[in-house]
Symmetry: C2
Subunit: 125 residues, 2 copies
DNA sequence: CCACCTTCTTGACATATATCAAAGAGGTGG
DNA sequence: CCACCTCTTTGATATATGTCAAGAAGGTGG
């Protein structure tokens, strides 16, 4: 008999109803959205993205992007890869250099999900 | 004489113009936006937020939120604090319990910044 | 094939983050 | 004041992430 009043042995706090109902956002969906937001949630990547958005065709090569953020090229390459694998950029070889281009729909889809008021994921997955 | 052809000793790659011009997004601005996006970029916090958004007044107490994500209360408290210090939630004591409430304008401002096409920060800072 | 340019991968390291158990802080009610 | 409830802080730990140097990979041009 460890406690003075066992009361509800298992759990169930008193302050509020269980209502463990609707998870509203499954863990899978939450992780999928989090991956995309994580890709954006870094100052370096935001600077790279802002630069790309400001270019005529929203594209640039790595050698243009590295000086912008004043980091080593391997580091910039790492960031660009993260943006690419999240679907925010596409990459394309042009001769020796590689051009990264913005995928505006990807950013739009994330913005719309946030603005929907319910974190609805339709259109993002 | 380490190299066969020194050429351009300092730097300046050949592939593209320097054009180191417009940074388009200052490091300060990029960090400010990154802090807000980082607050959202976690599956647990997205689930908490989705639950709050689905509540009548977009608010709930910690004891409601912990069972939703199946994590310990200290951990949930940590996540809620991160959302609060990013301006995405507000907190308010009601007797023994603490109620967290969504600040829709904060989420809206982030969504608008992403959707603007230039990562313009007006309205977010 | 060789020298060179651009980009990427690997390995190493420091920092940041998510998580929990234990203890503290704030509040209610006998 | 004391027992209890709710929530947060602290300390510890494991994992993830950002960064660079060094070297590899892909491509161009003599």
């Amino acid at each position: 008999m460890p406690k003075t009043l066992p009361l509800l042995e298992d759990a169930s706090p008193i302050c509020c109803d269980p209502l463990g109902a609707s998870a509203t956002l499954s863990l899978d969906d939450a992780m999928a959205l989090a991956v995309r937001l994580k890709a954006l949630a870094d100052p370096t990547r935001l600077q790279l993205l802002a630069y790309l958005l400001a270019q005529p065709n929203q594209e640039a090569c790595t050698c243009d992007l590295a000086p912008i953020v004043k980091l080593s090229e391997p580091t910039v390459s790492h960031h660009l890869k993260k943006l690419e694998t999240s679907g925010i950029l596409t990459k394309e070889r042009h001769g020796m250099s590689v051009h990264y281009r913005v995928v505006p729909e990807a950013i739009h889809a994330i913005a719309r999900t946030l603005d929907a008021g319910t974190l609805d994921l339709s259109g993002v997955l």
